[in-house]
């Protein structure tokens, strides 16, 4: 489904049709391990599921570029052995098919040693110039001020792991969702997490993380954002404006 002219929703990722650019975010490799360290000794198979999803997408869409929009790594403090191995494997795999661009997230403070070895760089944003639009992709944990940002008209962020709780009588279910709306004069797209373990934050009832969304909520314009909800099989449903879902 198209979220904006030329950009499609493919499961929890975005695909620039003409440019053949795939954007993914909030992969949180190593979360499984950190969950294990928290005491959950239950195999969660997260890494396997992420790889399976990407393999299928890459096979089908043959992207030329893959942009990882922040929080590739999970653990803040250190690089665990498990993370080192898995991230290396993950990036090597992607590099086989396409160019890989890494945008840093708040969890990626010490990602550099790993990507250095693979000859990859990390930056705080990536810009894409389309025919009529200037797209600025960044993780979303801070609001940038650089010139590219100022001149851009479409912003793509992650960080928030947006999800939406739907309710019908006694039944409540939570689904991952893309959000699209206005932030000042720009169009803001918020991507859900690629990680199957993360169910996400219920945008309507939980405290928000991203300064973009916090500001929007304070201005009481969050209700005008539109939801593109994903089911468990990555099918997309357009649900219209959030304010229609709140009651």
């Amino acid at each position: 489904m198209e979220i904006i002219s030329g950009i499609n929703i493919i499961g929890p990722s975005l695909f620039f049709e003409k440019e053949k650019i795939l954007v993914i975010g909030d992969v949180h490799i190593g979360q499984e391990n950190s969950i294990h360290k928290m005491g959950f000794n239950i195999p969660l198979n997260q890494f396997k599921l992420i790889n399976e999803f990407l393999e299928n997408v890459v096979e089908e869409l043959k992207p030329k570029t893959i942009i990882i929009n922040g929080d590739l790594k999970h653990d803040f403090g250190k690089i665990t052995n498990d993370e080192w191995d898995k991230i290396t494997l993950f990036l090597k795999n992607l590099k086989k098919y396409s160019k890989v661009i890494i945008i840093g997230g708040n969890h990626d403070k010490i990602l550099e040693p790993i990507i250095d070895k693979l000859d990859l760089q990390m930056s705080s944003y990536h810009k894409i110039v389309l025919e009529n639009d200037f797209v600025y992709i960044t993780h979303g944990d801070i609001i940038p001020h650089d010139l590219d940002y100022v001149t851009s008209n479409i912003i793509i962020i992650g960080h928030e792991h947006p999800a939406i709780k739907l309710k019908d009588n006694n039944r409540v279910e939570i689904f991952k969702s893309f959000l699209k709306g206005k932030y000042k004069d720009k169009t803001l797209i918020v991507m859900p997490s690629l990680n199957p373990i993360s169910e996400g934050t219920d945008i309507l009832s939980q405290k928000l993380l991203s300064p973009f969304l916090k500001e929007i909520k304070n201005n009481k314009t969050l209700g005008y954002f539109e939801a593109y909800i994903l089911d468990d099989k990555n099918k997309v449903y357009f649900f219209g404006k959030l304010k229609g879902l709140g009651d």
């Binding site: 928290m38 009588n169 229609g244 709140g246």
Partner: protein, 907 residues
């Protein structure tokens, strides 16, 4: 199965007490002197038990509080230790292990033991000592989770002769090599308050710890119990099997002197007429009534059924009678000013306070001490004061609402009139008509000592896993020996070998690939030598810091601005969506948003709740009591059908139930309304009432079997109905019945559903019916913690449940992917079906429905019948999810689209 039906003579009820002379003859001179100086006679339990214990005969003692129960167990032991000490034969080892379910109880016992010990020592030195050095040296030591490290170290150097501990700490002691050594010659094990353990996983855990201890040494088992039934079950639980293959129990003598305490019980209604009085009127009068009672007694103990109600009662008493009461503040509250309302500056004459499980141990201890010192006028508790902590003199017990079982009622009321020959005075205050009938029948059953039966859980896999892990840490051990050891516990006598093997497979990580096993395996298992052993250096620490069976439950704080309002459970929060209105502490609140484990709300003045209350902590009505109520309904039905005049029926109620005139009148009116409106349901007549309010259809089952049984019946029917219709079915369960709810437009095939409800299929139906429920994922989380799949304390860091923010749903679905019959998942299902619910009773009911032993009648009503009224307005709600998540989303999507296009159309 036939074997189980054989008369078993290993359990023997004692009918004749020993003579005082025989008992005194068994005492050493100094103990005899001390006894004469302290007591005038042996109390009834002592007459039976002291000589048993002296002769190492396993004994279960059931007697009321204040009957000298503690000394009935300890007298013989003290006597023997004194004898050994005086002959200088007392060694540095543990002779007796005393296990209490409560840490606080352990502290009490230490005091109650040390006092007589000091007296005996003093007497010995005055009268029997041969030299200055000749002193008695008998040590009593406490080891619980609160024991300091240096105290534990001291205990190793000089072990106590009597070790006071909790079930959890016993598990730890058994795995500590040095302390275990000191246990190698234990002579006696006393299990106090055994009734509170016998039907819980803590008890199951303890039963296995005792078998682990039994591998090292043979000992005499002593159980101390309040009034429960059947005592044989409790005795079997205490002693276990000598030979599980032939179902031969270790012998045990049962001392039942539970009948000796006199009771003065009454059921009271705060207003004359529960039907016409308004809700507010009833509550206001209830507080006036309570105040009268409190003022006319020295110290009143008030029981409520939930923790939140406990706080509410204290608050309201203080609010309504500010000159009379001031509240003893919680330690937390003293430091925070946010919760203290402005009226707290006004202090009343008497102090009152709360005591329940959510309060800090520090606060509870403070309250107990204030009670003992006689400084409190009243204390309000949920279940925490039911057990025998010494709380001093209580002259009245008030029960607000039904205690839901006769045993619990007796336990609660027994807290008053501490001395044996004093009467226990209890008053039950009822707030609605169902409560009135229930409590009146309960009172009859209590007076006639018809006590509801407890059920010991069998073949519990999560506890088994934890204990096998403990055994493997002790030393390498042959699996067959493990199997045989565990089967000696009454809880595992019928443990299937295959299930046992599955637990071993789980522990040795056979469910993951070989490469991953180093992460997930807890023990190694060598198929050739058939031995198991510990794996990894951390195994022992992991075991010791994670032992136990009591689940961590997260409470979500509810805040209005900065003010703390109360708490709700985590699953309840999960159900809340922005704008939902819910009830908490008698007020309605509108949910705004959540931040971690805090929910922020605003006042929901006069709004109708959109989410039904969550009654997960509510006590279920016992099946036996439910059947007594049904029997009463049956009598009433016959009177009405026979056309008996009002006077005669009221006379019957009066005679049958021992209620006062008001009570009898209210009950008569209630039944008469139901009879005239519809029919009276009872034990031989099930009424299914179809009530349609125009939007939704209610299919109401007047099935008074208690919530545990109704839960199974209701969910099984909802599942079948949902299957027939391919749609979600809403359901609501209470003790008095249940209903299914579907939109009015739909046809309900309830008769077809009833026909498909077959006993032989119920296990399979329930397995599916539970599949997507919150209750199963929550219980799975608990089971996973007990079996150490989820570790609370890891590498010395303790993780509160709050920090372990990991959706229970995700955990259970991950395990299902491994194997839908994974042993710990099976345990979660067993726990839900057998411990939380009562599938066996449900099967019996279904049989009776099918064989028409219970007649089934269907009616259609325009407004709900009187008996259905409470059920419609409250109860525990859930939904049977038939539609899968994808379908649900699709449907929601089309609903939203319709809304959008409608708006577009308007433009």
């Amino acid at each position: 199965m036939a074997k189980a039906d054989l008369v078993d003579d290993s359990m023997e009820f004692m009918s004749d007490p020993y003579t005082d002379k025989d008992i005194l003859d068994s005492f050493t001179p100094v103990v005899r002197d001390w006894w004469f100086s302290s007591f005038s006679e042996f109390s009834p339990p002592q007459k039976f038990s002291i000589l048993n214990i002296h002769s190492r005969i396993n004994t279960l003692v059931s007697s009321p509080t204040g009957s000298g129960k503690t000394l009935s167990a300890f007298a013989a032991i003290l006597n023997e230790l004194v004898g050994l000490s005086s002959k200088d034969l007392l060694e540095d080892k543990i002779y007796c292990v005393y296990i209490s379910p409560l840490k606080a109880l352990g502290n009490d016992i230490e005091k109650n033991l040390n006092e007589p010990l000091e007296q005996i020592k003093k007497l010995y030195e005055e009268r029997y000592s041969r030299s200055k050095e000749d002193k008695l040296d008998i040590r009593v030591g406490v080891r619980t989770g609160d024991t300091k490290v240096y105290e534990k170290a001291k205990m190793l150097k000089k072990p106590p002769h009597i070790l006071i501990t909790t079930p959890e700490s016993l598990g730890i002691v058994l795995t500590s090599p040095k302390l275990k050594e000191k246990l190698s010659d234990v002579q006696w094990v006393i299990v106090d308050e055994i009734h509170s353990l016998a039907d819980s996983k803590r008890g199951v855990h303890l039963s296995l710890s005792l078998e682990r201890l039994n591998r090292i040494t043979n000992f005499c088992r002593i159980g101390l119990s309040a009034t429960v039934a059947p005592l044989e079950e409790v005795a079997k639980f205490l002693v276990g099997y000598e030979d599980p293959k032939n179902q031969k129990f270790r012998p045990c003598k049962i001392v039942d002197v539970s009948y000796i305490k006199k009771l003065d019980l009454k059921v009271l209604s705060p207003v004359n007429n529960l039907i016409t009085a308004s809700y507010k009127n009833i509550y206001d009068s209830m507080y006036v009534l309570m105040n009268d009672f409190i003022q006319n007694h020295k110290t009143t103990l008030i029981f409520t059924n939930t923790r939140s109600a406990t706080e509410r009662i204290v608050h309201n008493l203080k609010d309504k009678f500010p000159n009379n009461y001031s509240k003893v503040l919680d330690v937390d509250e003293e430091s925070k000013d946010s919760v203290i309302s402005s009226d707290s500056q006004v202090s009343g004459k008497w102090e009152i306070g709360a005591h329940h499980g959510s309060l800090s141990q520090q606060h509870r201890l403070k309250m107990e001490n204030r009670l003992k010192a006689g400084e409190l006028k009243a204390i309000v508790s949920s279940t925490s004061l039911e057990l025998g902590i010494d709380i001093g003199y209580i002259d009245l017990v008030l029960l607000l609402g039904s205690p839901k079982s006769v045993a619990r009622a007796l336990q609660r009321i027994g807290r008053s009139g501490h001395k044996l020959h004093e009467e226990s005075v209890g008053r039950i205050i009822v707030l609605d008509r169902d409560d009135l009938v229930e409590c009146s029948v309960l009172l009859k059953a209590a007076t006639e000592k018809k006590i509801d039966k407890i059920k010991v859980s069998k073949n519990v896999f999560d506890v088994l896993a934890q204990q096998i892990f403990g055994l493997a840490i002790e030393d390498k051990i042959n699996v067959d020996e493990v199997y045989n050891t565990m089967r000696k516990s009454y809880c595992y006598g019928s443990l299937e070998r295959k299930d046992f093997d599955d637990v071993i497979k789980y522990l040795s990580g056979e469910y993951v690939s070989l490469e991953e096993r180093y992460v997930y395996a807890k023990i190694w298992y060598d198929e050739e030598t058939r031995e198991i052993g510990k794996r990894g250096k951390m195994a022992r620490v992991l075991y010791m810091t994670n032992i136990g069976t009591i689940p961590d439950e997260t409470n979500v704080k509810v805040k209005l601005g900065n003010n703390y309002i109360g708490s709700i459970s985590e699953p309840f929060l999960e159900r809340l969506k922005k704008g939902d209105v819910f009830v908490l502490g008698g007020q309605t609140y509108l949910f705004k948003y959540a931040q971690g484990l805090t929910a922020f709300v605003e006042s929901g003045f006069n709004r109708t709740p959109t989410v039904p209350s969550w009654f997960s902590e509510m006590l279920p009505l016992s099946f036996d009591l439910a059947m007594e109520i049904q029997k009463f309904r049956h009598f009433m039905d016959e009177y009405f059908i026979g056309g008996a005049p009002k006077k005669e029926i009221i006379q019957f109620i009066n005679d049958y139930l021992y209620v006062d005139e008001y009570g009898a009148n209210s009950i008569y009116e209630y039944f008469s309304e139901q009879y005239n409106f519809l029919e009276i349901p009872h034990d031989k007549k099930l009424i299914i009432e179809h009530y349609d309010d125009g939007n939704v259809k209610y299919i109401i089952f007047h099935a008074l079997y208690g919530r545990r049984t109704n839960d199974v019946l209701c969910r099984a029917l909802a599942f079948i109905l949902g299957k027939l219709q391919g749609k979600d079915v809403e359901l609501n369960i209470s003790d008095d019945g249940f209903y299914l709810r579907v939109p009015s437009v739909r046809n309900v095939q309830i008769s077809r559903a009833m026909n498909l409800l077959k006993v032989e299929h119920i296990d399979e139906i329930m397995k599916h019916a539970l599949d997507k429920t919150e209750v199963l994922s929550r219980r799975f989380r608990h089971c996973a913690a007990r079996s150490l799949m989820i570790i609370r304390n890891y590498k010395g860091r303790s993780k509160s449940v709050g920090k372990q923010q990991m959706s229970s749903r995700l955990l259970i679905s991950s395990v299902k992917k491994i194997d839908n019959d994974f042993i710990i998942l099976r345990e979660a299902r067993r726990e839900v079906l057998e411990d939380l619910m009562d599938i066996d009773r449900a099967k019996e009911i279904i049989k009776d429905w099918q064989s028409e032993k219970i007649q089934i009648k269907e009616f259609h009503t325009q407004i709900p019948s009187p008996f259905a009224f409470n059920l419609i307005s409250m109860g525990y709600s859930d939904i049977m999810k038939m539609e899968d998540k994808q379908e649900f989303l699709k449907r929601m999507h089309s609903m939203v689209l319709a809304k959008i296009s409608l708006k577009e159309g308007k433009k």
